[in-house]
Symmetry: C2
Subunit: 383 residues, 2 copies
């Protein structure tokens, strides 16, 4: 078993010598702006389109590195390359954000979801933190409130609402609202942001399955039991663990011992329920009653639930000093570094089948960019 | 190696004693109408919603069985149960078809695609063939022309068109237009239907990669080379093989020796390129240049490419008498019957990982219903 310090060392080293160099070299599109994310094992670009949520994430990540890791002007330059590209191209005539653009910035696809906008909002904010340019704080705040409205009324995104189910809360939406409010409150601890956080706490309660100690993905706003529908039985261990560490961050603004215990319970429950006892690794998602899922890809192993677990378990260990968390951290660490980390070309692979066989050689795509890996490596090594 | 007659025997037996009984017992929703398709291994329903394209497919299949297999009034009764449910619930105020409904028929999701409508159209037509009721032929014809318009102008489905790519032809659309026209022409060999078929032939040419003998999934309408985009490198062996046998059926209406050879070339090329040389089975889809795919589930093995290959290879063997086709048929047969066929509860499983490990115990879902398996077993056993 590795000590906590050893692990922190490894993560710092992975960030510095493997992850950052890979993206510095292969990401930026100096010709058209923005960043490439569809990178093959050796960094070759297999799709030149620009996926907006990954553009925003890359901006956020490079600014965060600049702010807390290394005052490297090159990071800021790449962030600005992304930011300019976003501001020029990512916004539709109604102020909403596209999902993807052609390499040169022409609109390619609009998704009717908020996540593109969410990560641009975080990118604006972190760029403000890096440069002090007020206009980016203003943009960020403005977009934050828009996103809250879009989540409350999805028809604003042109999402037709006629599903026969009771209206549900989505854990992903709870998560992004909480994470944006946390970042804003760190800059300006206004009551309005604390109110959104308090809302998020109530929403997390709604998703909490106390028996299993996990957060379910969907919860009916009117309290209806959704378990006869697949959506109501849908458990995503990575999301559940990610929200648990967001919750820990949130509680710095409104300390609450009971909620802190709940965050630990969620980490424990999600690890116990979400870990594959037969082949190791965290499931992508599962039906909590063991019924078949509608989706084909439920049982595969993805990189990001593992990066989220690494940081969450490290946080829990740091907080409690209990050996249990260090053991679990070692388990996730061993799985991740033997399955995902590419020792030859740097960065992490993204996808294995249930049994741990690599299915894709890519380092990035339309869902994987410069985000989960460097964030977890940075946060954990700096704990 | 099994003889062709032995295989036909097996397929007839599988249809009669395994597939039909499973769906007769577990499919029909006698309370609310329509059919359940989300069935677990033993037939238990894990999602009670009604997926419209699978409702239409079930109606078509039961009517086809009634028409060419067994004049069993029970088949017709189940078809009518589905038809009434569709007519009452599946159509939106603009005459388009929902993707899914709540168990009792309330709208659940609208997909902005034509496939729900396509299979309802085929269901109406086959019910007309079974009963002679003119109104169902009329409905079918009316919907056929609507679908053609929807494919030509996707904004009619509320599909925003602002992708920066040149406009593309989708193989799935070519396929459904051809298949509907073939079925209509069999009832009424009007010039208008033959014209659509001739159009389909020209479109198939567009998708044809003569070097590899395969049909690619997307083709630019203006002839632009799309290979720098993942969509332009996307090869779906099951689709390619399915279109090849549609093409054979189409050529009965407009015989053409060259095109017949092309259909055989496509079957051969798709088998050679799409077959997994390492672990067996047909890939779900792949990047034709061997680059990573954006989708997670590309390398898994699905039941339906195998059922389509069984019928296509049988057709090729029957047509040519060449041993090559019988050998290939045996290969696909062995893979299918050792991986997908459930000897205990009947029907076929749907999903294995690349290495052939079953990933889902389900017999049906939102994409698998009473269609590909019975169609292939029926068509092949009756050849």
């Amino acid at each position: 078993m590795k000590s906590f310090n050893d692990l922190q060392q490894i993560y710092g080293d992975n960030l510095k010598n493997s992850v950052i160099p890979f993206w510095l070299k292969n990401g930026p599109d100096w010709d058209n702006g923005g960043t490439f994310t569809c990178l093959d094992r050796d960094g070759g670009v297999y799709d030149t389109r620009k996926y907006i949520w990954l553009q925003g994430r890359s901006v956020w990540m490079f600014c965060r590195l600049y702010n807390v890791y290394e005052k490297n002007e090159h990071y800021l330059k790449i962030a600005k390359l992304g930011l300019d590209f976003i501001e020029k191209n990512a916004i539709d005539p109604k102020g909403r954000y596209y999902f993807s653009l052609m390499p040169d910035g022409k609109p390619y696809f609009y998704q009717r979801k908020v996540y593109g906008a969410v990560f641009c909002m975080l990118g604006y904010l972190e760029y403000f933190n890096a440069t002090g340019k007020q206009q980016y704080l203003d943009k960020s705040v403005d977009l934050f409130w828009k996103i809250r409205d879009w989540i409350a009324d999805p028809t604003l995104l042109d999402r037709p609402v006629f599903n026969g189910l009771p209206r549900t809360s989505s854990l992903a939406d709870v998560m992004v609202l909480a994470s944006m409010a946390i970042e804003l409150a760190a800059v300006d601890p206004k009551q309005a942001y604390l109110d959104v956080m308090a809302d998020s706490l109530r929403n997390i309660d709604r998703h909490f399955d106390a028996g299993k100690g996990i957060l379910m993905e969907a919860a009916a706003l009117d309290g209806t039991d959704l378990s006869r529908f697949p959506e109501g039985r849908f458990f995503n261990p990575g999301h559940s663990i990610e929200v648990a560490w967001f919750l820990m961050h949130l509680l710095k603004f409104m300390p609450d011992k009971k909620k802190e215990q709940m965050a630990l319970d969620i980490m424990k429950g999600s690890m116990e329920t979400g870990w594959d006892k037969e082949f190791g690794g965290l499931f992508y998602f599962m039906d909590i009653q063991g019924k078949p899922t509608l989706q084909i890809e439920s049982s595969v192993k993805l990189w990001w639930p593992h990066t989220e677990a690494i940081y969450a378990l490290a946080l829990a260990y740091k907080k409690t000093g209990e050996k249990y968390w260090l053991e679990k951290l070692n388990e996730v660490h061993d799985y991740s570094f033997s399955h995902f980390v590419d020792k030859e070309y740097g960065e992490w692979f993204g996808y294995c089948d249930r049994r741990g066989n690599l299915t894709h050689t890519s380092k990035g795509g339309n869902y994987k960019g410069f985000f989960h890996v460097p964030r977890a490596m940075l946060f954990t090594s700096q704990l």
